[in-house]
Symmetry: C2
Subunit: 157 residues, 2 copies
């Protein structure tokens, strides 16, 4: 973007994948039933939040790489913890590959992600990551409420 | 750091202050008593999480700017919502000023923040921000459990 950049493309991807590794640990900690059913204060079960993450990351990157604006769809047909984890793991190398296809100069370009939010591409991707951190943290509270110790916040490998 | 940087120093600060503006809205939403007393699953009340944020941001930046490693202290003598918000608001321009004092070339330097975590300075600061997003999201669950609608995630102004 400019010579003042303090976070490189590679560093942003590494940070994201580190956060995703921690989110995967949070999914793993949930018992099957509670993953899909437990909630607090009328919020969605954690599985629904995970499906949101899955329906943003790869579809969002695909849209950016192809320069085609697509609506998003959170209704992924994933009904077991195993299916969620398999989808999660399948997306890990897809995120690496798609992210790598975005040319450095494009990160400052404005893009109307999902046809709704017009920001520079780098901000769209920061939003994906921040949204994952946000919902993962809500999963931490669900786990605590269930009497389950969540993973350490710094376990990003 | 290098010409491949996709996030500038100014952009990282703007993103952080946007997140802090949203965290302030979350503090404001809490009733006085619940801010200091309500908890789920044995977790800390939200006021304690806010004190953690306050005891990391400015003290952490001061330590980086002065190049002096200091231990952190979460036991800030803040016992009312008004005191928390005043401390929060007093820290906003301090964060701008301290962050600006860090030379671009220093962000890649390794620094043992609080004498415990040795990472490049840019990663220390990303950790501060991510930790704030994490605890703020836990405040969202507390608010929902109290029947209070949290602010929109995208309200960063």
């Amino acid at each position: 973007m400019n010579t003042q950049g303090i976070i490189s493309k590679e560093e942003l991807l590494k940070s994201w994948q580190g956060h995703r590794a921690l989110a995967r640990r949070v999914i793993e900690k949930f018992p099957e039933k509670e993953l899909f059913e437990f909630s607090i204060g009328g919020m969605r079960p954690f599985a629904e939040m995970v499906k949101e993450m899955l329906s943003i990351a790869v579809p969002g990157l695909e849209s950016i790489v192809s320069n085609q604006i697509e609506k998003y769809d959170h209704n992924l047909p994933l009904t077991t913890k195993q299916e969620l984890l398999e989808h999660w793991d399948a997306d890990t190398p897809k995120i690496d590959a798609l992210f790598s296809e975005i040319a450095v100069d494009r990160f400052k370009e404005s893009f109307k992600i999902f046809g709704e939010y017009e920001f520079p591409i780098v901000e769209n991707i920061q939003y994906f990551i921040d949204n994952e951190i946000h919902h993962r943290a809500q999963g931490y509270v669900y786990l605590r409420a269930l009497g389950i110790e969540p993973p350490f916040f710094w376990e990003r490998y």
